[in-house]
Structures are given as structure tokens and as C-alpha cells.
């Protein structure tokens, strides 16, 4: 079985990391460009191939209608949920789809898990190139405040990408793992994680026991639609209006110009973390140049409401953990947006202590995922994560109210049993509606699933069916039902309210393989065969020449044997075997290669391979 990697599937950037078996330290793996950050952007090339990462990000400017960013915002959501999002993001959605979101790239449609799968597959390729080996299992991080549907969608994305997601780990928890390993911290830790599109706050207790360290999450809170994107959108509206006012020109109908303005603003935003002043420029089609100067004070005035919004979940999380700000021993900042000086100052003031920023806020979540991957892979136990479910699980009761069966911040796995019976004679089904959220009415909570329990006909009140709701270690719901009169297990088909079915996932998996580059091992086999063709041809040529007469009988026999062995291995699909046979033939032909080079330059060529001479 291949290695297990840790993946941070972010709104803005995604990363893949592993734990170095020698040093035990987690490390992010670079892609072809050398950077460890893979922009979470996907673009459909006119030739039908899929482009992911930095090259796709560049296409946002030139081919914005074929490219998509921040798709994480759409994971696990229905068409009705995202109407407000559509006003701000240039997502092009299939308007005929009632429930499942389908995003249009060029003339093709993709669901959010499919888009995320392209990103996961790209990271899988990075890792496979790095290891020179297949990678088929991963630990993937999700915002702690993700609900069941969003988690399920992330797991589906893994499946579509050909990765078995062994565990979904909450992002702030992963960050705490990385920091814990780095600093050997103890006590109560608050992790403030503001990324591109999501905000999480988690309060953890780090406990050392005789057997190892336990990371116990006490509470978590957040907002899955609050992040650096919101800062960008706020300013984009302002800048676009300024262009209209100053130049009587609306760039809204020119997606490329909008992307260019966004890029310019993001640059200015980053500069304002270091400097007091930055500017945004945009050349309009008329040749006129729009220019806007930004001071840090202005910028902070604008974003203060967003920063204040993050402090509400912070207070709720502390209240649920029954802790005062002063009782927190360490504060950790995670996510690129926490580079903003105003955020650092606000967090520091609230907790009365300087937050930790030693680890790269872009990488720390992926590093933590790699730590968890290592725990799962090696089974060598010196650490345990105890995480919680962020939202209460409830069942709709009479009158549209919600009865909570598993409260928020329960350690997972967590379960609850409910007893059901019938209300009328010979009733054959009981409808059950499962919800997630803190509100009292079903209509205000997130609908997770509806299903009907099948009941054998009987007088009213006689059937006794026990339904067990279980939230697993990934924060995903499982339901099982048992007829208490005969002990029979009922199978419960839980169709997530906004999810995609297993058959759809199968189809997407097949399609994604068509889009994806060839499988890693397939690619390796092709490369190895090409190489063996070259060396076999060179060997045949050299053996046919007169120089080969100088070979000893033994040498000649070894070469013939190696040629036969390599030829045989090429017929198979084992690239490792082909490589081994290539090496053997290279060894056997070292003397022959020297002879071919005719003595004069042979000293300079010692150790060269026949195919290179």
C-alpha cells in the first residue's frame, strides 16, 4: 500500500505534506514550480484538458469563463444556499439544476466535489513525483465548523480523485498538532484560523499522559463563509464603483478586467501588512489609467467590521469551554489572512498575550495533517486527537421544532439512541428528518437527511424501533435502526439533502480519469519502456560493430543475458523491474561502452552508460 499524505484543501491555496520517517518532522512537498502552494484554481483548456494551480490562476486573467477559484465556498451546499454568494463571485452556475450545484467551465459542467477532486489529483501527482511511488490514501483537513454535508462533499472529492480519505481533520486541530510537535506546548491553547474563505476558532487542552500526548478539543466555533475573500470583495465593490464614478466605465462586464483589478488589490493588501501605503492601478480599454491609493489606516477602518465578526465565535467558543480569555495559556494564529497587523493586534489584545506565528501560517495546517497521517500510517502511538462535532445534531419533532440528540462540542465519535413507534394502526413508515444547527426550529437548521423507517403493519404504538445516530471520527453522520421486537437491523438509506449519490460519484470518478493525466505508475512504465528501447538499440548497434570482438566470452554472455532479461521485463507493467533490468544492462555494458569510445577519450568516459555514448 502506498504512503499516506496530509492535504490542506484550502479556499485559496492547497498543500500536500508528509512526515519524514528519519526525522519525524512534517514537511510540505513542492510542485513542479518549486513552490509548496498550489493555488486552488481549476481551468478547462479549450483542448479539453484540465489545468490546476498556478497556470490555472494565470488563466483567471485571460480565460476567466473557463476558470474557477474559491470553489470550497460551494462544497456541500445547494443551489438555494448560494444565491448571495453568486452576487459577489463570478461563479457561472447551471440555472436549470434545482439542487446540486453545477459550475460551468467553458461549455462543460462540474460539481464542486469534481472541481476539488482536480485539485486533490494535482497534489497527489506532486506527492507521487516527490516519492517516486504511488499515493492512494490521505488525511484531508476541513474547517472545524464544516457541517455534515460539507464534510461528505470533501470525502467525495477524495474518492473522485482516487484517494481514500482515511480521516478528515479539523484545520485548527491540525495546526495545534503541528505547533504541539514544534514547541512541545502544554495547557490550554486557542487556535484562531482565518483563511481565504473560512474562519475557525478552536480551544484545546494539551495533556501529557504516561503513554503520550492527548490533544483534546474542548470547543470549536466559526463561520464557514468569512475570510480573506470577504475583505477582497468589500474592496472590489468599492474600487469598481470608483472606476464608474471617475471614468464612467463599468468593468463588471469584463471578467478579465475584474480579475486584474482583484489581483492588483490583493497585491496592495499584502503590501499593507508591511508598509503604511500601497496603490492599485488598472489600465482601461480606453487607455485611461485608474489609480487608487490606500493607507493602512484606511484599510484597517474598512476591514474592522470583518475582524469584529470573527470575535463573536471566539467568545462563544470560550464560553462553551467554560474559560475566560486570561485562562488560555497559548494562542496560535493560522491562515494567510492572519498576517494582517490589525488581526494580530486584535487577538493579542483580547487574550492579553502575544500569539504564536512561528510556523508559516500557509503551511501549518498541511503540516498538522501530515502528523496525523503519520499516526495513522505507522500505528506507532504517542499522540491522540480527540475532536468534537461543531454543531448540534437534532431531529424534527411535532410542530417543526428540533429535539437535540447530540449537543455541539461533543467529543466524536458520539452517538444517541431514539425510540420510535407508530401513531396509527398498520402504519408502514415513520418519517425522520435529521438536522444540524443550534436554532430551535427545523426551518432554521441545516437539513442533513430525510428518510422513512419501514415498519411491519401492527396496531398503533406496538412497534418499537430504536434509531441510532452516530457521528464518526470524521464528523460524518451514520444512521442505523433496530426493531426491538425481533432484534432485526433495518438498513437506513440516508440520502444527504444536498449531496451526490454513490452512483454519481462512480461516474465522476471514471470521467475524472479521462481528464487527469495518466496514472502515476502508467506514466512510469511508459518512461521506463522508452528508456529501455534506447539502451537496447545502442547495445545492438555496439554488438554489431567490430569493437565487440574485444569482449571476453563471459562479458558477451552477461550482456546477452541482460538483454534478454530486459526485453522480457518490458513486456510486463512493472516499472520498478524494468528499471532494475536497465541498471543491470548498463552495468554489463560498461566495458563495451568504453571500447566503443575507441580508447582515446575512454578515461573521460569511465562510468558512462552505453546509451549516452
Amino acid at each position: 500500500m502506498g504512503r499516506i499524505v496530509g492535504i490542506d484543501l484550502g479556499t485559496t491555496n492547497s498543500l500536500v505534506a508528509y512526515t519524514d520517517p528519519q526525522t519525524g518532522a512534517p514537511k510540505c512537498m513542492p510542485g513542479p514550480s518549486g513552490s509548496t502552494l498550489c493555488p486552488s484554481v481549476v481551468s478547462l483548456d479549450p483542448d479539453g484538458s484540465i489545468i490546476v494551480g498556478e497556470p490555472a490562476r494565470r488563466r483567471l486573467l485571460t480565460q476567466s469563463e473557463r476558470s474557477i477559484y474559491s470553489v470550497k465556498r460551494l462544497m456541500g451546499r445547494g443551489v438555494a444556499d448560494i444565491q448571495s454568494e453568486l452576487k459577489i463571485f463570478p461563479f457561472r452556475i447551471d440555472t436549470t439544476s434545482k439542487n446540486v450545484i453545477r459550475i460551468k467551465l467553458g461549455d462543460k459542467f462540474f460539481t464542486p466535489p469534481e472541481i476539488s477532486a482536480f485539485i486533490l489529483r494535482e497534489l497527489k501527482n506532486w506527492a507521487e513525483a516527490y516519492f517516486g511511488d504511488t499515493v492512494d490514501r490521505a488525511v484531508v483537513t476541513v474547517p472545524a465548523y464544516f457541517n455534515d454535508a460539507q464534510r461528505q462533499a470533501t470525502k467525495d472529492a477524495g474518492k473522485i480523485a482516487g484517494l481514500e480519505v482515511l480521516r478528515l481533520v479539523n484545520e485548527p486541530t491540525a495546526a495545534a498538532l503541528a505547533y504541539g510537535l514544534h514547541e512541545k506546548q502544554r495547557g490550554k491553547v486557542a487556535v484562531y484560523d482565518l483563511g481565504g474563505g473560512t474562519f475557525d476558532i478552536s480551544v484545546l487542552k494539551l495533556i501529557s499522559t504516561g503513554e503520550g500526548d492527548i490533544y483534546q478539543v474542548l470547543s470549536t466555533n466559526g463561520d464557514t463563509h468569512l475570510g480573506g475573500d470577504d475583505i477582497d470583495n468589500l474592496f472590489m465593490r468599492h474600487l469598481q464603483q470608483e472606476i464608474v464614478d471617475q471614468h464612467k466605465f463599468d468593468i463588471g462586464r469584463h471578467p478579465e478586467l475584474v480579475q486584474e483589478l482583484r489581483k492588483g488589490f490583493i497585491q496592495a493588501k499584502h503590501q499593507l501588512s508591511e508598509k503604511d501605503h500601497a496603490e492599485v492601478r488598472l489600465t482601461l480599454p480606453s487607455g485611461a489609467v485608474y489609480w487608487s491609493g490606500l493607507t493602512r489606516a484606511d484599510f484597517e477602518g474598512w476591514i474592522r467590521p470583518i475582524v469584529d465578526r470573527t470575535m463573536i465565535p471566539v467568545k462563544l467558543a470560550l464560553a462553551d469551554a467554560h474559560l475566560a480569555p486570561a485562562e488560555i495559556d497559548e494562542v496560535v494564529l493560522v491562515g494567510g489572512t492572519t498576517r494582517t497587523p490589525l488581526i494580530r493586534a486584535t487577538v493579542q489584545e483580547y487574550f492579553g498575550r502575544k500569539p504564536h506565528t512561528e510556523l508559516n501560517p500557509d503551511e501549518v495546517v498541511a503540516l498538522g495533517a501530515a502528523v496525523q497521517a503519520n499516526i495513522l500510517e505507522r500505528g506507532v502511538k504517542n499522540m491522540l486527537l480527540l475532536d468534537v462535532t461543531p454543531l448540534s445534531l437534532g431531529i424534527e419533532t411535532y410542530g417543526g421544532a428540533v429535539a437535540k440528540v447530540i449537543p455541539r462540542n461533543s467529543t466524536i465519535p458520539a452517538s444517541a439512541q431514539e425510540m420510535y413507534t407508530t401513531g396509527v394502526d398498520n402504519q408502514t413508515g415513520i418519517d425522520i428528518h435529521v438536522l444540524q444547527g443550534e436554532r430551535e426550529l427545523a426551518k432554521d437548521c441545516r437539513s442533513l437527511a430525510r428518510f422513512t423507517l419501514k415498519v411491519p403493519p401492527a396496531p398503533a404504538g406496538l412497534p418499537r424501533i430504536e434509531v441510532r445516530f452516530l457521528i464518526d471520527a470524521n464528523g460524518i453522520l451514520q444512521v442505523a435502526a433496530k426493531d426491538l421486537r425481533n432484534g432485526q437491523q433495518h438498513s437506513v438509506e440516508v440520502q444527504p439533502s444536498y449531496g451526490i449519490s454513490d452512483t454519481e460519484i462512480e461516474r465522476m470518478l471514471e470521467e475524472s480519469i479521462e481528464y487527469a493525466e495518466q496514472d502515476f505508475s502508467e506514466r512510469q512504465v511508459i518512461e521506463a519502456r522508452t528508456e529501455s528501447e534506447a539502451i537496447l538499440a545502442a547495445t545492438q548497434k555496439a554488438l554489431a560493430s567490430s569493437t565487440s570482438a574485444a569482449l571476453s566470452t563471459e562479458e558477451r554472455a552477461t550482456i546477452d543475458q541482460s538483454v534478454a532479461a530486459l526485453t522480457e521485463s518490458v513486456a510486463g507493467n512493472d516499472y520498478k523491474l524494468i528499471r532494475k533490468r536497465i541498471d543491470e544492462l548498463n552495468q554489463a555494458t560498461t566495458h563495451l561502452a568504453e571500447l566503443v569510445m575507441n580508447g582515446a577519450v575512454s578515461t573521460a568516459l569511465q562510468g558512462r552508460k552505453l546509451a549516452e555514448v
Partner: protein, 224 residues
């Protein structure tokens, strides 16, 4: 109380281990009918040392958590999910003093929520009536857009009054809990125990009624 000898589901040998088979080392099913107290090896008392409860919880979690079984067989993975969720459920209930009383009464078959859950306890009738009147007035004034400050002040003082009552119930609950523990220690007779259980049940119902009231008023006040 003696348990029947246990046989491992996997190797079919007799096992002496509580969680893992003493022969083959596979994770075992939980003992049938194990309640939350028995799971943590504690007597059915209402005062619990939270420190040792936490230690037990962490130790069990360390052994049973699904992370330990990622590479194990399907059955073991499923068992670990069942057993670790049970440990978490048990810890969640036992560490909360009110949930603990509720659980104990259910275990003893003595939990009765009362036929009229929404009915006010008789001695509170008058005050509840006044409170509801004030709430109605506040809602009307809100709709009419009138001055809310006097009404809000009246509600806030009523709120304080009920919060105080909530505190009183909690104290009474504590006293009754101590009586229960004393009865257990003294190995008291069934009728003595039954009386304490009835008292605990009454107090729980009273508590939940007052708490709902306080929550409703708080909601109404923050929304105006």
C-alpha cells in the same frame, strides 16, 4: 454479581481482558448492559470526582479510539467506533451534574417527565402568570413601536427573580444528591431510595421548567 465467562468473537477462546482478547489481542465487544457508571468502574453515586473521571476517560479513549484501528479488520474498526462513541457519550453525561441525575434516574427507572411538562409548579403559578403578562405587553409594545424601557425593566427584575429560583433548585438538587449518596453508602432500603428518587425527579422537572422560562425571557429581551 458474577458475569458469565466471555468468549472472543474472533478466536473463540475464553478471554479475561476487559477491552482486548487475552488470547488474540483483538478488540472486544462491550459487555451487554454495561451502563455508563460501570464503564468507568464507578458506583452509582451522584457526586463524582471529576479528576478521576477525566483520567479514566482519557485512558479508555487512548485504547479504543478509531485512530488505533485504521489498519485493522472491518469488524474491529466497527467495534472501535461503537465502543469509543459509548465512552464519549458516557463522559459527556457523567461530567455534567444535571445530566448525571437524569441518567441515574433513567437507569433506576425513576425518571418521569410529568404529564404536563409545560404546566407551572403550583407555588410559582402567580409569578409565572405575571411574567407572561409582562411578556405579552412587551410583544404588543414592540409591534406598536411604543416605549419599551419600563416594560423591559420589569421583565429584567422578574428575570433576576427566576434566576435566583434556579439557583435555589440547584442547591436543593445538590442536597437531594447527597442524600442519595448517603443512602447508597448506608445500604439503605428500597423505600428510602425510592423516596429520594421521587424527590430528585420532581426537582429535575422544576428545574427544567424554570430554565425554559429564564431562556424565553432572555430571548425576548435580547430581541427587543
Amino acid at each position: 454479581m458474577t458475569d458469565p465467562p466471555l468468549v472472543c468473537w474472533s478466536c473463540h477462546e475464553r478471554t479475561l481482558g476487559t477491552h482486548f482478547c487475552s488470547s488474540c489481542g483483538k478488540l472486544q465487544k462491550g459487555r451487554h448492559g454495561t451502563d455508563y457508571y460501570a464503564l468507568f468502574g464507578m458506583p452509582r453515586k451522584l457526586s463524582i470526582d471529576l479528576g478521576s473521571l477525566e483520567r479514566e476517560f482519557l485512558q479508555l479513549s487512548w485504547k479504543l479510539h478509531p485512530d488505533n484501528f485504521v489498519n485493522a479488520t472491518e469488524q474491529e474498526r466497527e467495534l472501535s467506533l461503537q465502543r469509543s462513541s459509548e465512552v464519549n457519550d458516557a463522559y459527556r453525561v457523567l461530567r455534567d451534574p444535571v445530566a448525571r441525575v437524569e441518567y441515574l434516574l433513567e437507569l433506576e427507572g425513576a425518571r418521569k417527565e410529568g404529564e404536563h411538562k409545560q404546566q407551572a409548579p403550583p407555588e410559582l403559578l402567580e409569578e409565572v402568570f405575571e411574567l407572561n403578562e409582562s411578556l405579552d405587553e412587551l410583544r404588543e409594545a414592540k409591534e406598536a413601536g411604543g416605549d419599551l424601557s419600563t416594560l423591559k425593566a420589569r421583565l429584567e427584575s422578574a428575570q433576576k427573580n427566576f434566576q435566583q429560583k434556579l439557583g435555589e433548585v440547584d442547591q436543593q438538587l445538590q442536597v437531594a444528591a447527597q442524600q442519595w449518596d448517603a443512602a447508597i453508602e448506608a445500604n439503605a432500603g428500597d423505600s428510602d431510595r425510592a423516596a429520594i428518587k421521587v424527590r430528585l425527579n420532581e426537582l429535575l422537572n422544576r428545574r427544567s421548567y424554570i430554565r425554559n422560562l429564564v431562556n424565553n425571557v432572555a430571548k425576548e429581551l435580547t430581541e427587543s
